[in-house]
Structure formats: structure tokens, C-alpha cells
Symmetry: C2
Subunit: 235 residues, 2 copies
Amino acid sequence: MLSLIGLGLNDEKDISVKGLELVKKADIVYLENYTSKLQCSKQALEKLYGKEIQLVEREVVENATAIISQAAYNNIVLLIVGDVFSATTHIALFQEAKEKGIEVQVVHNASILNAIGITGLELYKFGKTTSIPFHESETPYKVIKENFPLHTLCLLDLVPSENKFMESSEAIEKLKQSGFDINTKVVVCAQLGSDSPTILYLQAKNIKPLHKFPQCLIIPGDLHFMEKEVLESYQ
Amino acid sequence: MLSLIGLGLNDEKDISVKGLELVKKADIVYLENYTSKLQCSKQALEKLYGKEIQLVEREVVENATAIISQAAYNNIVLLIVGDVFSATTHIALFQEAKEKGIEVQVVHNASILNAIGITGLELYKFGKTTSIPFHESETPYKVIKENFPLHTLCLLDLVPSENKFMESSEAIEKLKQSGFDINTKVVVCAQLGSDSPTILYLQAKNIKPLHKFPQCLIIPGDLHFMEKEVLESYQ
């Protein structure tokens, strides 16, 4: 059996009771380490779970044959930061395992896509999600314009294995180069899902580096009065 | 202190370890009972949590004064099906509690907005979410058209207290009245997040009642080959 288990956003205690039970019964526990970042160490996970955890790189998950052959004879768990299907590589693994006749269990958890509800912005009023990459790209600003008057969630690029994360201030610099007006009021979020998330509602030009990751940036569209009231409490 | 705790989508074991710890320390535990439906009874929650749970109706959460005054002197937990900020009433409660100087803790969990990743459709390629109400409305079809080529998640109306849930076949009838082409291939989902979710990819006109709730309906936009491959496995 292959169990794909979402870890949520913050630390070892964000796993669900169901997920924890599956981890405790597992023969091998993998942790994918390339789509996001937890606020705790692998050792903290291992201590609570009572299991040794092996980090896997993108290549191992993308080239799923090894994991899938193990799952034919063992209980294999793949732990995924956030929710299970936030990345295309995980849906490909899920699909390949099913095609090979492997039983697959999915344990969902929180992802950044719903955690941003704490900003007060209505989740149902977001348009397409965009990513701001380290390299130059016109796409993010195009998505923001096309989404308007809907809100846009901008995910910021990261390379967790190199401890490399984009600051919102850097993301704004990139958007500015595509023509984004830096007088726009935007929402900066860092470490959502933790006990002390940072949420700031301010003009884009006033964003300072936070040195706290992961971050995301939200470009609000038209605001309902309740959304405005909650946002303004983050000024 | 007021703790807003997401329960996830399925049963008593979907709560996170962190959420369960807070429930065990609570003086009073409420469960909101009007935005969605769990696949387990209140008794099953009470048994695992070791606490008595009081159901609260929409009016009590909307008129938050009572809960907030209790939270000034007690550890109050409000359990919410899915994630915490899926409904506007919960963000209003969160905001009012903060304004009154009450410490508020938020424990996120899975919501339908990320659980639909299991269909193979990329979560980042969804447009605005729409709701199909029991009463007549032109809005849902308008949203679907405006979202295209993005995917559209349609939430189906429900009144859990009356055990009243909309079937996808009924939702399609309503969309058809607004001009939706029932030859379109759509995705029907029931009980996502459970051990045996139903996911069907078929022409809208071929949808039969499933007698299994809650359901949601997805109108796919343009499909990437990987999305298509996963969807076609649900035919």
C-alpha cells in the first residue's frame, strides 16, 4: 500500500490522527523535500512519529518506479508538506500507482490555498493562482490583470534544499518590471499556519524583507466591506 | 482563549494532533453544524476527543457575543467542518474576538478547495468558485463562462440540519436552464476526503443521482495532457 499523507503547513503536530496512525504502521516513511518548507526539523517529525524518515528529492518521486515497486510488498508512506496534490509530481505518482494496481490511500491536510483565508479575503473570490519565479517572467503580472476584479495568490519561488526563498519585496521588484503599480495595496504573508504568522496589508512599495519563510503575496481585487475590515486590521 | 479548529472532510480522525490537544484542554467545545457535513456522528467525535460537544447553529456564530464573552474566561473551542475560514461567519467571529482582545488560535485543515486535487485537475488552474443554490440563479453559469479556459468548482447547496443536499444531476438541470450544454464532460465528486470517494468524469447529461453526500461538481476548462490522463481514469 502507498499512503500519500499531507503534513499541513507548520510542524510535526499538524498531521491528522489518521495520518499519524498510518505513519506508525508504515514499513518505510519518505518525506518529500522540494515543494515547500515546514517550521520544524525532520528530527521533530521522527520523534513524534516514532519512525525514521528518509528525505526524497524530486527525481525519486518523478521517477516513481522505485517507490511503487516497494509499495507492492510494503506499507510505504510519502509525507508531503501542505496538502497531497499541490504539485503535479504527486498526482503523477498517485496515477502510476493506481495503474499498477497498488492500493493508494490519500490523507488530505491544509494547504496554502485555504490557509490564506485568515487574511479575510474570501477564498471563493480568488482567480487563477500564479507563481513568481526567480527567473524573469511576464506571466505573473498577466495573470493578476486577467484575474481582476478577483484576488490573485502569488506563490513565491523557493529551493528548500539550498535554503533559498524569495522575499515578497523581491517579488514586487519583479512585478514592477512587468508594469505593476507599486502604489497598489497588497497582502504579504509569512509562515501561515504557524502560531505567529505574519500578515501585512500595505502599499507594495513599502514592503521590507521579512527574513521569515515561506512567504506568499496576495494582490486583492474588489473588496467586500467585511474583507476590507479584516485586511485593515493587518495594517 | 478561542480556538478555531478545522476538522477536515471525513471523520473524527481527520483532526490534527495539534487540534486534538486543544480540544482535550478545552472547557467548552462547540461544533458548527451548518456549512458542511462530516461522514461520522457527533458521538464518534466525542468518543475520540473525550469531550462533550455542543452543536451550534448559524445564528449563534453570527451573533458572536455569547461565544466571545465565554472565551474571555474559558478555553473555548469551535470545531468547523473542513477548514476554518471557508465561511464568512467564521472570519467575522475571528475578527470580533481579536478586536475584543481575546487570544485566538487557528488550526487549519483540509477543505474541499484542495481535496479536489485528487481529480487530477491542477489546483492552480481553477478560477472563481461558484455555488449552485436551491433557488433559481443565473450566476453559476455566468461564472463558468467567465472562468473558461480555467476550471470551475461548483459547490452544491445544502441544509445539513434538514439533511437536505443537492445532487449533481439536479445542479446540471439548473445549469441547463441557464444555457449550459449538457454534452459537456464534467467531474462529479462525492465524499472527497473519505476512504471511498466517488469521482466520475462523464457527459453532464449522463449524471445519475448518487445518493451520497456532500457532492461537488467541476466544470473543467482547457486540459493539460496529465490532467486529461487522470480524468479519463475516472470514466
